[in-house]
């Protein structure tokens, strides 16, 4: 059995590079170390050079490099890069920070152009806390600096350049900034009072335009929009199943549907408005009685108005006009303990009424068309496609089919909107 060579010992015979552990290494230091290693410098020399770049005195036993008139030919003295002082390093950090902020602003601007969304769709990063700046020596004191450091720019006050620009599509209101004139760049006059105040106005306008938004908030807002869309996405009849009695029992043709539309719009809107106002007075107690009696009292002027508009045609509705006062589409709100404001009650009531009107008109016209081939009394077809549509049984089936199609379309739309939100916030944390 051949004695196989230990694979781990193979490298021992080859020349291998030493590993230098250099704390706080920068790109320049790495390049420097590589260059020196390529030129055959020893480890101690490389460490010394790196230590010089770091501005730390090496704790080695070797003496610190002193200016010698004739440098050793074998030693490589770093002349291409000068080591950075603390001021230079701070200036570099400041510049990097500004570049990063600028990149972030550009990214948000591009995203805004691409998605055409308002600025609040994009989270604004927390403003970087500015460090108190020290007095820095003028640049002229470093004549032999080979690295062009923008130290002068960092020293100069920059109140006119905001750290970040939210977007260009939205013009946020900056009441404070509008009053204050934009300070022009002034000569360097470092003062103890002004310097820490300079970055302070930057985050102030962000609070309005950049309310931090997350995907969860966006989804919650989308759900709220879907829920509050009482006409299509959250229709009281087709989606929530309210108000089925007049739709199935009385909306047999377009004319009856129109009468019910007017009645429902008036009753739903003003019942909700008046009942909420009374509930505010009663401490939100006795809601069922308040809602039902409010609708019953409002029915009197509504009935008189309808009688003026439609005359004796009201009698064809039979019991379906009076029972509107206990119809869940009108008094469903009594089951909720949350007391909404008057303005919300008016808005929601009107939207619910409109949604009910849409459902009534669609079902009424369709049933009339299927049962008699006419729409609002005007003959369209000289044949009755489905005479059963005039009966409650046909009404149930027809409303069921319409509700299925309605919900399918609404689901497709809401899924598309949810996917859109998901894509918009794909790279954000929840």
């Amino acid at each position: 059995m051949p004695n196989s060579q230990n694979r781990n010992n193979r490298r021992k015979r080859e020349e291998h590079s030493e590993t230098l552990i250099i704390p706080h290494i920068t790109k320049e230091m790495l390049e420097k170390a590589r260059t020196m290693a390529a030129q055959g410098a020893s480890r101690a020399e490389i460490e010394q050079a790196i230590a010089q770049m770091q501005g730390v005195t090496p704790q080695s036993t070797e003496p610190a490099p002193k200016p010698q008139p004739e440098p050793d030919a074998r030693r490589i003295i770093p002349t291409s890069r000068k080591r950075h002082t603390d001021e230079e390093r701070k200036a570099m950090l400041e510049q990097m920070r500004k570049e990063q902020e600028q990149r972030e602003a550009e990214r948000r601007e591009q995203a805004t152009r691409r998605t055409e969304r308002p600025a609040w769709h994009f989270p604004v990063p927390d403003p970087v806390k500015p460090e108190p700046r020290r007095k820095e020596p003028p640049v002229s004191s470093q004549p032999d600096a080979t690295v062009q450091m923008p130290a002068v720019q960092s020293v100069q006050p920059e109140p006119a350049v905001p750290a970040e620009e939210p977007t260009r599509t939205m013009d946020p209101v900056h009441p404070v900034e509008e009053k204050e004139p934009t300070p022009k760049p002034q000569p360097v006059q470092p003062s103890e009072k002004k310097e820490p105040v300079q970055p302070a106005p930057q985050p102030a306008p962000r609070r309005h335009a950049g309310l931090l938004r997350s995907r969860t908030e966006a989804e919650a807002e989308l759900n709220e929009k879907i829920r509050s869309d009482h006409i299509w996405l959250s229709n009281p009849v087709m989606v929530r199943g309210l108000g089925l009695a007049p739709v199935v029992g009385a909306a047999l043709n377009g004319e009856q549907a129109l009468i019910l539309c007017v009645a429902c719009l008036l009753l739903i809107t003003f019942t909700r408005l008046l009942a909420v106002a009374i509930c505010h007075l009663s401490g939100n107690r006795f809601r069922p009685l308040i809602y039902c009696y409010t609708a019953a009292i409002l029915y009197i002027p509504v009935y008189l108005l309808l009688y003026e508009l439609f005359g004796n045609d009201l009698t064809v509705l039979g019991i379906y006009l009076p029972i509107l006062i206990t119809e869940p589409a009108i008094v469903k709100r009594m089951e909720f303990t949350e007391l909404e404001s008057i303005r919300d009650a008016l808005r929601h009531g009107f939207n619910n009424g409109l949604g009910m009107c849409v459902a009534l008109l669609i079902v009424g016209c369709l049933r009339e068309f299927l049962a008699t081939g006419a729409v609002f009394g005007h003959t369209v077809l000289h044949a009755a496609l489905l005479p059963l549509a005039a009966q409650p049984a046909g009404g149930f089936v027809l409303v069921g089919v319409i509700a299925a199609v309605w919900c399918a379309v609404a689901n497709v739309y809401t899924d598309y909107k949810r996917e859109e939100v998901r894509r918009l916030y794909a790279d954000r944390k929840r």
Binding site: L244, C292, Y293, A295, L304, I319, P392, V401, C407
Partner: protein, 217 residues
């Protein structure tokens, strides 16, 4: 002996009439299948497993039973008296919902008192459903139907109780149907409300075929 037989026969006739009107209200003129009254409440009640059916049904039967004689009294006693005092521009028809709603509320109050006989747990459950059962289109619609049909008091009570029993009957039928309609064979867009409505429509069609004519709406 002959007099006793006549009284007995009249009693029998009354009972028979009562039962026939109840049967009429339960099957032929079912509030849900024939007139689509209370469908929304039914749709909300059926899938709710927390709400027991009898917690809703018992107050509904009591409210409809007690409101029926009140509705008869209103139609035959109150409205003729009230017509003399109403101005010409205000027809009685505009006040009907308000007055019949008051009848329903009075029946709810009586029911609330009667529910004391129940054990505490059931009493609280029934009282929590009392307002939903009383403020229903089924109650108000039944009162209006009785008034429109000019039923007598006995007929009104029979029709009211029968309507309530018919409502409970349909609750159980729709509940069972909805349980079976949870099958995956039902297309997704028909799950829930659409399939339940179509199911009720087919039941309504069966009643329509049994009766042979449409009821007076």
């Amino acid at each position: 002996m002959l007099i006793a037989n006549a009284e007995f026969s009249s009693l029998l006739r009354g009972v028979l009439q009562f039962i026939s009107y109840m049967g009429l209200a339960i099957f032929a003129e079912n509030v849900i299948l024939a007139r689509a009254l209370g469908v929304t409440r039914l749709m909300k009640l059926v899938p709710d497993h927390k709400a027991q059916v009898w917690d809703f049904s018992l107050p509904l039967i009591l409210v409809m039973g007690f409101s029926a004689p009140l509705g008869w009294a209103t139609h035959n006693l109150l409205f003729p008296w009230l017509r003399n005092y109403l101005p010409a521009w205000l027809p009685v028809s505009a006040l009907r919902p308000l007055i019949y709603l008051t009848c329903g509320v009075l029946a709810m109050a009586v029911t609330w008192l009667i529910l004391w006989i129940l054990p505490r747990k059931h009493r609280q459950a029934c009282r929590s459903q009392l307002t939903l059962a009383g403020c229903s289109t089924a109650v108000l619609g039944t009162l209006l139907i009785c008034a429109n049909q000019n039923y007598t008091m006995l007929q009104s009570i029979a029709f009211g109780v029968g309507s309530a029993l018919g409502y409970v009957f349909i609750i159980f039928i729709v509940r069972e149907g909805r349980r079976r309609l949870r099958s995956k064979d039902v297309p997704a867009i028909f799950q829930g409300l659409p399939s339940s409505l179509i199911y009720i429509g087919i039941l309504s069609l069966a009643i329509y075929g049994l009766v042979g004519h449409a009821v007076v709406l």
